[in-house]
Amino acid sequence: MIGDRVLRKEDARFLTGRGRYLADHDVPGLCHIALVRSPIAHARVRSVDVTEALLSPGVVGVFTQADLEAGGARPMTHRLSMPGIQPLSWGVLATDTVRFVGEPIVAVVATSRAEAEDACELVEVDYEPLPAMVDPRAALEPGAPLLYPEWGTNVFFTAASPAGQADAAIATAPHVLTERVSHHRIQALPLEGHGAQASVDPQTGGLVVIASNQQPHQLRTVIAETVGLPESSVRVIAPDMGGGFGAKQHFTREECLVALLARITGRPVRWAQDRAEGLTASIHARAQEHEVTCGYDDTGKVLGYKVQIVADLGNPVLYFSGIGPSLVTIGCLAGGYDFGPVSFDLRCVATTTCPVGAYRGFGQPEAHVTSERVLDTIAERLGLDPVEVRHRNFLPDAPRPWMAPSGARMDIGSLGPHFDQLLDEVDYDGWRKRQADARAEGRFVGIGLSTLVQGTAPTQYGVAGRFGSWESASVSVLPDGSVTVFVGTKSQGQAHETVFAQVAADALGVPVDRVTVKDGDTAALPYGMGTWGSRSAVMGGGAVVTASTRLREKMDLIATHMGGNPTFDQIAEEVWWHAHRLPHHLEPGLTSTVVYTPGNTIPVPDAAGKTNFEETYGAHMTCVVVEVDVDTGDVELLDAVLVSDCGRVINPMVVEGQHQGAFVQGLGNVLHEEIRYDDEGQPLTATLIDYTPPLATDVRDLRVLHREKPSENAGGFRGMGEAAIIAAPAAIAGAVADALRPLGVEVWSTRLHPHHLRALLRAAR
């Protein structure tokens, strides 16, 4: 039931190798796709010759964009219409110009992946190189080579808030801090690569697409548009997924390609992204630089806050565009603080690199690292404890919800007592003493803090131009009293088969093992929004609890009508088998499909110019203690504690697992992982030898404690899946900065990998 550590229903099949992921769907006659991808960052494509490739063994066909268009392909676009955005559409395959290493140009279909790769090597492409443009700041310089000359600039999107109030507050503040904070490029790296498989249903002529995608219904929309079929003729199934973390949130060229090639060749076809494609030609993330200016008083209270952002989008051929994370960044610059007037200036820049888009955290880690570095630095410059400075800047405890000037409706609990619980748990004062002792011995221990208010369950409308803030679920009690739940979210490892069963069981009053949950099939529900943005518990859970409660209420009515205290199973049987005995006004059956929304968001500015992208907020207080080896640059965790308030906790075991996993991804962000390019735009991190996520030996367990202030939404849930990946980089960067302060090192970058720290330390010596 809700609140219990129910063991997971999905585990038995995963543990025994019986999960069924994308590449586990072999069917007779299945063909495989491999892609010819550009080896050059920026080039005009003079010609493509596929003659040799067509003769290669096993080849079924070789296709360019012209072939796809002859087969019905329509252009892809970002579909955004907000002010400040450039028009852009692109083909499923590139045609006359390529703009990053890895951009697909030709697709080969063959009877095996190996044969398809053999044939790719025989495709002749004649490239006329154009200048690479890797550094977004250089791309902003006058005279910089342009990716899209028709724009007259490399700026794809720009937005700014009125700066007057913030500028005035900063100008009159007793102290001003100005720094540049760099958030380097990383990627989500789900262990299972992206991919899709499609076939034509011989009965209907419709398409069946199996895709490792977090949002199967929206993928259906995009495939239907690109292929030119009604949505009713496309079924998308998202099977078991080996992680997603945002990397499988976009609707990609390759997914549309698979659908088109199934129709053009008449064969079942699969594209399974390999790791090199994943690392170089899928979706990267973060890649922002902030110039922050902050005015503050002698007590450390921030009086005005201004952030100018340059976001590197790579080649922005991505539906729904890589600007989403940047829009989230500008919406949460002040997080859970009262920073007085806040202003921003955002420029999203196109470069000749892989598209930048979603990764768990989605713009929030960038805002949070910057604000936490600023608060720690204010404390240092004023000689105050960073704890004290945070207390001074927290949102006041009342009123609730706190209505921020921006429109954000923050329904969180009091931050001060929450923070104090963290400090007690981690023994903050004790660590300060141990830190001083260590320094006396020549060891460098640091304590880092993150006091995070996380927006959860956002509306997608603001970043996609459509797709609102709601979720659907269909709950049915079957005649034997067993229960089915179909939900429009899509688990990628988040235990939805278990937690939604808990939600339904709790509302219906049956044991959890009576409930079976299914997701990821557009044939099961008219529409759904998928899993992203820490939304599933809030939105999917809200839908399941609403549908289940309706059924329970109906069953209670029927029980009264039946009399004699009937059991759950007796009511179920009565409703389905003996409907003639029900009151006439009661609809037979026990099934409820709901489309649920809490209704708290304001996706486009209202009359007062206010927006609120989030249905609810979570609060998460984190402390990390590290020791830095100043010879090697290794950072060792000595302790890590998170006190989490995600409202009503459905399954503490699952919540803790989400936090621990997200924390280690955030640790990887600052201590291990970096997507790198050379000046010519050649990727330097194309294998897992070069891109190095944390291993079991690189981490220690995050300790998680719970506080529960229920949200006002159905079920009382708040999102949490992204909390620790937002908190960890900020807390770890703070701890490293704290450790190295005696050596004169300042931390204004997320690049804290050992070799970067060694360079910082050498520079300081």
Partner: protein, 158 residues
């Protein structure tokens, strides 16, 4: 396509004859006979998702050619337990929330089984070291390490 090689080997205790291309890896050969619990995470030996036991020792099946395995004995995750009869190490993974998406899980379980065979009572540091060749992107390793420690005591007490 080069000529196929006929390779006779034992897979999960069953004699199998595989007709494979010389370039076919053990990973692809196993998946080709329906043993899809062995996962392709990187195909260049860096993630551990394709770990199987070859003559009782963990290997990365993406770095072994199927044609090299004549006369050898391969154990995959399917040979270790079934949903109705989980291996004790699998039970521990379930009990300790040692998996989320499940993609790294077969490799993790087989690596843990080998560790516990060699060292029935490992320390936490030894567990982390033994698992360090297997990437998990979901759990942060907390549940996995807890599961292996849990299995070590339960295996010992059996």
């Amino acid at each position: 396509m080069t000529a196929l090689i006929e390779t006779a080997l034992s897979v999960n205790g069953e004699r199998r004859i595989l007709d494979v291309e010389p370039r076919t890896t053990l990973l692809d050969a196993l998946r080709g006979i329906g043993l899809t619990g062995t996962h392709a995470g990187c195909e260049h030996g860096a993630c551990g998702a394709c770990t199987v036991l070859l003559d009782g020792e963990t290997v990365r099946s993406c770095l072994v050619l199927a044609g090299q395995c004549g006369g050898r004995e391969v154990t995959t995750i399917e040979g270790l337990g079934t949903p109705d009869a989980l291996h004790p190490v699998m039970e521990s993974f379930r009990r300790c929330h040692g998996l989320q998406c499940g993609f790294c899980t077969p490799g993790m379980v087989l690596t843990a089984v080998e560790l516990l065979d060699e060292n029935p009572s490992p320390t936490e540091a030894e567990v982390r070291e033994a698992l360090s060749g297997n990437i998990c992107r979901c759990t942060g390793y907390a549940g996995i390490v807890a599961a292996v420690l849990d299995a070590s005591s339960s295996v010992v007490s059996e």
